[in-house]
């Protein structure tokens, strides 16, 4: 399926990601490992970001000494920066440098849009409407819809939310929520949750397409990410017209 739209989406995302990492977009297609320092205006807060499109990998560091360590590692291929030995080693070196508690996070995969799909019909009696801000705030502490609404402590992510849509069941209960937030300039990320009693009816894909179309109407590019182990979320992204482009991991300081 990947064609012109996938190529356009990929180019837009790679440009935005490269700007946040501090490299040229071509670094993500360089078939090599590029180590850079994070620019001061980047939105990414973590000690190290490790990104790859499979065609090139970038390690972006806040502390230049971490970059020196990364350059010194004998890696057979550029994408081996995602191996546990590299990620755990980078976190351990960060701790040695005084970044107490530094930890690595296993990779997440990200997709860009490859196909504009039409809106889907909801199951009979269901409806989608914008979820007002007050209701978002009321729902957030319970964490039932944490992918869509962010977790209570995720202050920056909450502030970046652009819109939230909810799917309501025929009896008025909340069946699913999809959130859209400003991830990077020109790039919006989608987060989705469906309440367990309402799963298996295609609501996740319907809500994801709904959010995707809204983002496209704003003239922005949608992205969709998930943990590599999350088969259901991955298949939802595929069903909504997305295709994988990149992997991202971090070395971070827990709150």
């Amino acid at each position: 399926m990947p064609g012109l739209l996938y190529a356009e989406s990929s180019a837009a995302f790679k440009a935005a990601l490269a700007s946040q990492l501090g490299c040229a977009p071509s670094a993500l297609d360089s078939e090599s490992l590029v180590v850079v320092e994070r620019p001061p205006d980047s939105r990414e807060p973590h000690l190290a970001l490790i990104a790859s499109t499979g065609r090139g990998s970038v390690v972006s560091v806040k502390d230049p000494r971490l970059g020196d360590w990364a350059r010194d590692q004998p890696l057979e291929n550029h994408f081996r920066v995602f191996l546990p030995s590299f990620l755990e080693g980078l976190a351990a070196h960060a701790r040695e440098l005084g970044h107490g508690g530094a930890r690595s996070h296993s990779p997440s995969e990200g997709m860009v849009l490859a196909q504009d799909l039409p809106l889907r019909d909801l199951p009979p009696g269901y409806r989608i409407a914008e979820l007002p801000l007050a209701q978002q705030e009321r729902l957030r502490p319970a964490r039932e819809f944490e992918n869509a609404l962010a977790e209570p402590g995720e202050i920056a992510k909450i502030a970046a939310i652009r819109i939230v849509f909810a799917a309501y069941a025929p009896d008025g209960t909340l069946a699913g929520v999809v959130g859209v937030w400003d991830q990077y300039p020109e790039i919006d990320e989608i987060g989705i949750d469906v309440a367990p009693p309402h799963r298996g009816r295609g609501l996740a894909t319907t809500l994801t397409i709904h959010a995707t179309r809204w983002i496209r109407e704003q003239g922005r590019w949608p992205i969709y990410t998930y943990g590599i182990w999350n088969i259901r979320s991955m298949n939802n992204g595929l069903s909504a017209g997305f295709r994988p482009l990149w992997l991202l991991s971090t070395v971070y300081l827990p709150d």
């Binding site: 499979g54 546990p84 088969i231 992997l247």
Partner: protein, 260 residues
């Protein structure tokens, strides 16, 4: 769109993984974490394997670590057992306390064909050459096709069944190998020679191999490592659908270095 072929293949795959894990297929659908002792068998090279189809997670672990895992596995969300820093890394640290070295591997992805595999035209100028163990033995030592023909550091690797090579005259340009994946399932490993990359030969080789496997009455499976988004895209382009993810702890092979 998933097909009858896909659902039949998925059913067989789930049953085979349940046998390998030592659980029942229904344990994959509990929306909870199921912890079972790891049975003996030829497919069991891991000390621990956490496997999910997205609707529950089954952790299968060797007996000496069973009680430790039961005491230390996450209790809130089943899929957190897939997070290396939640279960696998602490297990490796526990093993070190016991004087044993364990390493862990991040979650991989398992794929099955979304439709019954069908023949696709080969890129112009290439021919398909099905091969067996003799051809593999001849080409294995180059190391160029290690995903298809096996790793150089494990020359005694058992389980190779058959394969298909896309030939440019007498030169193998892309090779897909088929490996025993339990109960009539055949795992595809593929490599494209460096000089031939960027011509769609990976997709052509996997598609041809999937058709060859299906023609023999077996079911193709495809796996990609957590680091390999390019392989993930290749699987999708070949019509494969992601069905499961597995993370594991292993004993490093003495000759293999870190088992990454």
């Amino acid at each position: 769109m998933a097909s009858d072929y896909f659902f039949a293949a998925l059913d067989r795959y789930r049953k085979s993984r349940a046998a390998v894990q030592g659980c029942s297929p229904g344990d994959f659908d509990t929306h909870s974490l199921v912890i079972v002792p790891r049975p003996d068998g030829p497919y069991l090279k891991s000390v621990l394997m956490a496997l999910t189809f997205g609707t529950g997670t089954v952790v299968s672990v060797e007996e000496p670590y069973l009680e430790w895992v039961r005491a230390n596995a996450p209790r809130d969300k089943h899929y957190r057992a897939m997070f290396p820093n939640v279960l696998l890394q602490p297990l490796a640290e526990e093993a070190a306390r016991r004087g044993e070295m364990l390493a862990w591997r991040s979650p991989n992805l398992s794929f099955l064909p979304g439709q019954e595999p069908s023949a696709r035209p080969l890129p112009q100028g290439f021919s398909a050459f099905p091969f067996g163990s003799e051809w593999r033995a001849e080409h294995f030592p180059s190391g160029e096709f290690h995903n298809a023909l096996g790793e150089l550091d494990d020359p005694a690797e058992e389980g190779f069944r058959y394969g298909i090579a896309l030939m440019d005259g007498g030169t193998p340009a892309a090779v897909a190998g088929g490996w025993d994946d339990c109960d009539g399932l055949i795992e595809i490993g593929v490599d494209v020679a460096r000089d031939y990359r960027g011509r769609g030969l990976g997709v052509a080789a996997v598609s041809a191999m999937a058709k060859l496997i299906a023609d023999r009455g077996e079911i193709p499976t495809y796996y990609c490592g957590p680091t390999n988004v390019r392989s993930h895209r290749n699987a999708l382009a070949c019509g494969f659908v992601p069905v499961a993810s597995a993370a594991r702890a292993v004993r490093p092979r003495p000759t293999a270095g870190h088992p990454d």
